[in-house]
Assembly symmetry: C2
Homo-oligomer: 363 residues x 2
């Protein structure tokens, strides 16, 4: 029996139908001219969703967490001061990853559920090499002001996690001063998990580690893998590793769908769905977790009502409706739910379904 799920957790989300259809097509060789042309177009379309003109914009061949690792391993020189804004699980993870790369990490802790305090972060150290922050914290459903960090970064590089923001809410990497960014495919991009859309500008690339500890994620080598900017499809490629061709084809299809709809329309669709859900939850007397004014539309965090067994509700939703919502993260595992309306699921019918399902299960 083929299982079908409504994936309304923090990701993966149900892919756009175009992305799923692409996965089922015959695969191409990783050096096939037709595949290389598809890779070129994928990189070009990624530039659009990142809001960047960076030549070095590509899908890394691993999940979003490897994007985080690529960001640090290519930019942290031994002993570099890295200021990390920590307002959730993924900020914490940045500290771990940066430290393994040899950074002197300066974490700036925030209460979970609140956005990053730009002044505290930019003032945390007089001359950091890197300032790192999460745009949309998947663990808490909070949006932070990346443009503010970019304005106050000084000489530091600004490194940004856009895993849950890309193609869901406004993201303007160049305008905001993002030097290095990584994302994932399985949230608002509406593609299965497995790739990490990545971008790095010239400023950061010039300061990179020449021979990073990771061969697989070495951006100096990966330039040849995607033929870098301006290289014609089919020429100028250097073999690095075998591209995950099926996943790249799926990402290409998902991006095509998004750009056909229009990126601003997609943002508006996410905004509307998130507002509809959050209004509906509050009308039912449920309390939202993320601070008002910083709530992500694509990922809503809501407090589990007193006396309600969080896991039992989630199990019942899955069993009765094939509907997945997420537990909370970290200390909030049992007291918060995370409800994602990402990519293909950012639709009014999805909102009505999840609200009706909650009504029944909580009754």
């Amino acid at each position: 029996m083929i299982l079908e799920r409504h994936l309304f957790g923090p990701g993966p989300s149900n892919p756009y139908p175009e992305a799923t259809a692409a996965l089922g097509l015959p695969i191409l060789g990783h050096l096939d001219p037709a595949f290389l042309a598809m890779m070129d177009e994928t990189c070009e379309w990624l530039r659009t969703v990142w809001g960047t003109a960076n030549a070095r914009t590509l899908p890394l061949s691993a999940t979003g967490s490897a994007g985080m690792e690529a960001a640090f391993v290519n930019t942290v020189h031994e002993g570099d001061v890295v200021v990390v804004a920590v307002n959730g699980l993924f900020g914490q993870r940045m500290c771990d990853v940066a430290a393994r790369c040899g950074a002197e990490v300066v974490p700036v802790e925030h209460e979970w559920g609140t956005p990053v305090d730009v002044d505290r972060v930019t003032g945390a150290h007089p001359s950091p090499a890197i300032i790192a922050a999460v745009h949309a914290e998947t663990s808490t459903g909070v949006r932070s002001d990346i443009a503010g960090l970019g304005a106050g970064k000084g000489d530091a590089l600004l490194l940004t996690d856009a895993v849950t923001s890309i193609a869901g809410i406004e993201l303007h990497a160049d305008e905001w001063g993002i030097d290095v960014g990584y994302a994932g495919t399985q949230k608002c991009l509406g593609v299965a998990p497995g790739l990490a859309p990545f971008t790095i500008n010239d400023r950061a690339f010039e300061r990179r580690v020449e021979k990073p500890r990771s061969w697989y994620l070495d951006l100096g080598l990966l330039g040849g893998y995607v033929g870098e900017a301006g290289t014609k499809a089919g020429g100028g490629r250097t073999y690095h590793h075998t591209a995950p061709v099926a996943m790249v084809a799926s990402l290409h299809a998902g991006l095509g769908r998004i750009l056909e709809e229009g990126l601003e329309s997609v943002w508006a669709r996410h905004a509307a769905a998130g507002q509809q859900l959050q209004d509906g939850l509050e009308q039912r007397g449920l309390e939202l977790f993320a601070e008002k004014g910083s709530r992500l539309p694509e990922l809503t965090t809501v407090k589990v009502p007193d006396g309600v067994d969080s896991a039992a509700v989630r199990a019942r939703l899955l069993e009765r409706f094939g509907l997945e919502i997420g537990a909370g993260a970290g200390a909030y595992a049992a007291t918060v739910w995370r409800i994602g309306l990402m990519g293909h699921n950012a639709r009014p019918d999805a909102v009505e379904l999840v609200l009706a399902a909650l009504d029944e299960v909580l009754a």
Copy 2:
């Protein structure tokens, strides 16, 4: 227009139909009990194709090259002596990756096209921490004697690249003394590229680097990701990263197909197809590149006849027949072709097609 290719290069190969069909199914959440059960079964079936009882056997969430990196980054302590058998491109790459992990690399060079010399490799250093070798060199089409290295490894760990051998030729990780092994999905496993089947035994795990430089590939953390051995599906998982659920489902389906056919039958099918191809090429007066007695059935290397433009032939095969064969690697890029008959393509009809196509294009 949907492009269809005969992928007779060094990989990716055309996936088994079951593996392609699985990619097109609705995806599951990465913590869904049904997905966790599928992951458990995938790890169990990977044990079978590896020939191992290792609890720590799992598909890493990146391509085969990341498997190589995981093998070294988890086992090389700063300054460790690592003896690497180099008889092709992937042996060379091992030297680069191991050095980035802090190894003192002792390369043992061989002429390309020849197998690893067990005595030279095991005698290259009195007390290496690690001996590393490629079982089936994708760059040359040569099979090496891993069992011999295992018998002579002494106290060293034996680290083996099985990217092009797994599920194509005999592989007995435990019997041969392989301590750490990695592979890829896109060759004889008959699945699209994107995952790295990995195995590590207790002996190697106990000697591992406690906090390796790579967070993404840290086997200490990845134990929780797959629930380790004996953990029931749905319980005992620790969130590490979001599993690439579509690719795992596809690997599960590919492995299911292989085990349904029977692993020994699959090996026999590869052996027969390779022999048929190599006989056919020699009957046509073409000269094989890999040394007789060490030729892989799943990947045949053949010298480009004098006066023939290698790239023009490959382009013509692609254009007229949608048929891909590979160029040579490294110094042999223009003088050797690589013809793969892997997984689903290890069939007599595939052999006849590639021979007939070559006949026409070389006429």
